[in-house]
């Protein structure tokens, strides 16, 4: 793998890894929590970017794999006292297998039809799990607090989960980079641009799409396992939250569709803006206390609209267009 020696990859990994390691060195739990969320969103955005940004298939319901990974891992830990790392990996593999099974028929659909189908799959899964008793049905599953004792108590378990998300995020970024720079990735980009032409040029789109979809399922599943391990409770509405899925696409769009750095930038900016709006002190206008938080949905919507309308390519994409020379560097 010649690309493993590519310095662009290492610059990205060093920046993300370097920042991620700060709370580990300083023991700052608040920063850890903020970064956990950012890194989780980086995983979700980068993964959906593989199928949506590289391959051109708008996967609206990609969160289904996040939920499945969480459920599989939770189930194993709950019922078989499986070690978390193993449970998470099984969750990741399990979700990937589901992705293959779903992907084979569904990836034949194009455009809006595919997008709608992914919404349908997520909703079908959510309503099914809400009725599926082995997964706790609508009540979901929760850990007894003592589960964390095996990981040195809840405090250490949260650090452990954080280490996990750092590893998964770096792996996702590396995969996202290596895929884009590989022959396989070139095939995906060709499919995105013109599937029929790509087919004539020797690419097997069906196979390539399923593989891309599987990648876009594997990492979110790991993130789901980590998130729900840390959260201590998993419920269908939280696991299969369509809104989170849409937000991941928003992040991709913010940062730059089809680029490696875009989703990372997009996820970080989106999370920080939301956090800022939520934690901003409320202001009093004409005697009425108006929290930004009360309007943060509207503000987020307004910002998103401005970006969608005027910076269609996202931040990184805009840089690439504005300064064509950066195309070589900004992947």
């Amino acid at each position: 793998m010649k690309n493993l020696l590519n310095p662009y990859l290492w610059i990205i990994l060093l920046v993300v890894g370097g920042i991620s390691v700060v709370p580990i060195l300083t023991g700052d739990a608040s920063m850890r929590e903020d970064l956990f969320l950012i890194l989780m969103l980086v995983v979700l955005a980068s993964s959906v970017n593989i199928i949506t940004g590289y391959t051109g298939y708008v996967s609206f319901g990609n969160i289904v794999f996040f939920g499945l990974g969480g459920y599989f891992a939770f189930y194993l830990m709950q019922n078989f006292e499986t070690n978390f790392v193993l449970a998470a990996l099984v969750g990741g593999v399990g979700a990937s297998i589901v992705a293959v099974l779903i992907g084979i028929p569904v990836l034949r659909l194009r455009g809006a039809y595919f997008a709608l189908a992914t919404i349908g799959i997520n909703e079908a899964m959510r309503t099914f799990v809400a009725n599926f008793d082995p997964f706790g049905g609508s009540v979901g599953m929760f850990f007894n607090y003592s589960v964390y004792n095996a990981y040195g108590g809840a405090k250490n378990a949260l650090w452990f989960a954080y280490d996990g998300i750092v590893v998964v995020a770096l792996a996702t970024i590396a995969a996202s980079f290596l895929i884009k720079k590989s022959k396989f990735g070139l095939g995906l980009l060709a499919i995105r641009e013109d599937q029929d032409a790509a087919k004539v040029l020797g690419i097997d789109p069906a196979r390539a799409k399923v593989i891309a979809y599987t990648f876009s399922a594997f990492f979110p599943a790991l993130a789901g396992a980590l998130f729900f391990f840390k959260n201590g409770i998993i419920e269908p509405d939280v696991a299969f939250d369509l809104l989170r899925s849409i937000e991941a696409l928003v992040m991709v769009m913010l940062g730059g569709y089809g680029t490696v750095v875009g989703p990372i930038v997009g996820a970080t900016v989106y999370e920080r803006i939301t956090a800022l709006l939520i934690t901003a002190p409320s202001i009093t206008v004409l005697g009425v206390s108006l929290g930004f938080s009360q309007l943060h949905l509207a503000i987020a919507g307004f910002l998103l609209l401005l970006i969608v309308l005027f910076v269609t390519a996202g931040f990184v994409g805009w840089l690439r267009q504005r300064f064509p020379r950066t195309r070589r560097y900004l992947e």
Partner: protein
């Protein structure tokens, strides 16, 4: 794609590494969290400092998240109003006065959790580490409270849960979490007892519930309780929380001709269900629904609201008082029911709901423990809460001290309200159960 990689890039990579390592080390030296300047919410009353006469003033911060957006917005908002009312009461009184003359002045610090689990743990960590809060209150809903408890427990921070009625949450061996709500397992048991009293011939119960975590838990316990009391549960089915039309489901329920229908979920589905049962003239003798009936807006559905019974943690009509406390041989503490209701009405121009009472009670409980122990030392306060057994405007409070269920609410009782019509045909909310607290006799449901 290009195989040749300029050396300058490698240098850039190494430089980045150096910068990142520096960045990584820097925050270790400089403390990241600024001293928590407790930004008091605008509801805070007159300036607190004037109150302290001889002793010093200790500021304490109570932290929590509220659902200012998302699906829990209404309930959580009322809970917040209750808590803010408590804060303004305490502030007006010049703070919590300790024996040594010290005045403890509380303030609130809260964030929006968007009714979602995503950020709850991050926000509670921030409250503890950066905002340096002294005590915590849970988010609204059991799911979010569970996520928050994982953080509060590991820091050993005392957290009072309100708006979280799940039994299982409190059966995990928590040491620092105290539950104010009567657990879900008892939400409908009183209604089943009431049915036995009112209509001894009733045998068939239909349990229909929204397929969400809370309602399903309640329904499961109700099923067990009803069966063990000799009822036959003729329908025991969940519906999707997003259901907006119950017509067909009601046909199915009616076909089983139940004597009582119990369950529901949240406001919108509950009120539509009640209205459609009425429109379809289903003759069940009793209709008990979660969450929806206690809300004043429930009567917007018209005559369908009549006779509907709702379990509630608290209602303005409850009869808890100092006298009642004496009778029950319990100490009485805090504001009276009428004062609470009147103050709330004056401040927010609405009747307080049980969420609001729960919010107020969360503050009141801390106040009581601080006064009892004359300190804000968490260990002392926990010890005090463990042995607390008292009556307040909110009702009886007592926590389990069993290692397995520590902090679970075992004193508080549900009340059941029913919408009845007065002589002039206006809807009146009456307390019908428990009998000791009733404001009117329960009525069996009948169709016009």
């Amino acid at each position: 794609m290009s195989p040749r990689i300029p050396r300058s890039l490698w240098i850039a990579a190494l430089l980045t590494l150096a910068v990142v390592i520096l960045a990584a080390c820097a925050p270790a030296a400089a403390p990241t969290s600024a001293p928590a300047t407790a930004a008091p919410q605008p509801s805070t009353g007159p300036a607190p400092t004037t109150a302290s006469t001889g002793g010093q003033t200790k500021n304490i911060i109570i932290g929590f998240t509220a659902s200012q957006t998302g699906s829990n917005n209404v309930e959580s908002g009322k809970q917040l109003q209750g808590l803010q009312l408590w804060l303004s009461d305490v502030t007006k009184a010049g703070g919590i006065k300790l024996k040594d003359g010290t005045v403890v002045m509380p303030s609130l610090k809260f964030y929006d959790d968007e009714s979602k689990a995503d950020r709850v743990q991050a926000l509670y960590t921030q409250l503890i580490n950066q905002d340096k809060v002294d005590f915590l209150i849970s988010p609204y809903s059991s799911g979010l409270a569970k996520s928050a408890a994982i953080i509060s427990e590991q820091y050993g921070k005392l957290m009072i849960t309100t708006g979280a009625a799940d039994d299982a949450t409190m059966e995990q061996g928590f040491k620092n979490t105290y539950q104010l709500y009567t657990p879900a397992s008892q939400y409908l048991s009183g209604a089943i007892d009431l049915l036995g009293k009112l209509s001894p011939s009733a045998k068939k119960i239909a349990i229909v519930y929204s397929k969400d975590a809370f309602s399903t838990t309640v329904a499961q316990f109700a099923n067990t309780y009803a069966t063990s009391h000799g009822y036959s549960v003729v329908v025991n089915e969940g519906y999707d929380p997003s259901t907006t039309d119950f017509s067909s489901f009601i046909n199915k329920i009616a076909a089983a001709s139940p004597d009582a229908i119990m369950g529901g979920g949240h406001f919108a589905d509950g009120s539509t269900f009640a209205k459609q049962l009425f429109d379809k003239k289903i003759p069940a003798q009793m209709l008990v629904l979660l969450v929806a009936p206690p809300a004043p807006t429930f009567t917007q559905i018209g005559d369908g609201a009549q006779y509907v019974i709702g379990p509630s943690q608290w209602e303005p009509q409850v009869t808890y008082s100092a006298d009642a406390a004496k009778a029950a041989n319990l100490p009485w503490y805090g504001i009276s029911v009428t004062d609470f209701t009147a103050e709330f009405k004056a401040k927010y121009n609405a009747d307080p709901s049980y969420h609001a009472a729960g919010g107020y009670m969360a503050g009141l409980l801390l106040q009581k423990a601080i006064e009892d122990t004359n300190s804000i030392d968490p260990t002392a306060i926990k010890a005090d809460l463990d042995k607390l057994d008292l009556l307040t405007f909110y009702g009886h409070i007592k926590f389990s001290t069993d290692a397995k269920t520590h902090g679970k609410q075992i004193g508080h009782e549900m009340v059941y309200m029913q919408w009845q019509k007065d002589a002039s045909g206006n809807f009146v909310k009456q307390i019908v159960w428990p009998l000791t607290a009733k404001t009117a006799d329960a009525q069996l449901r009948k169709l016009p």
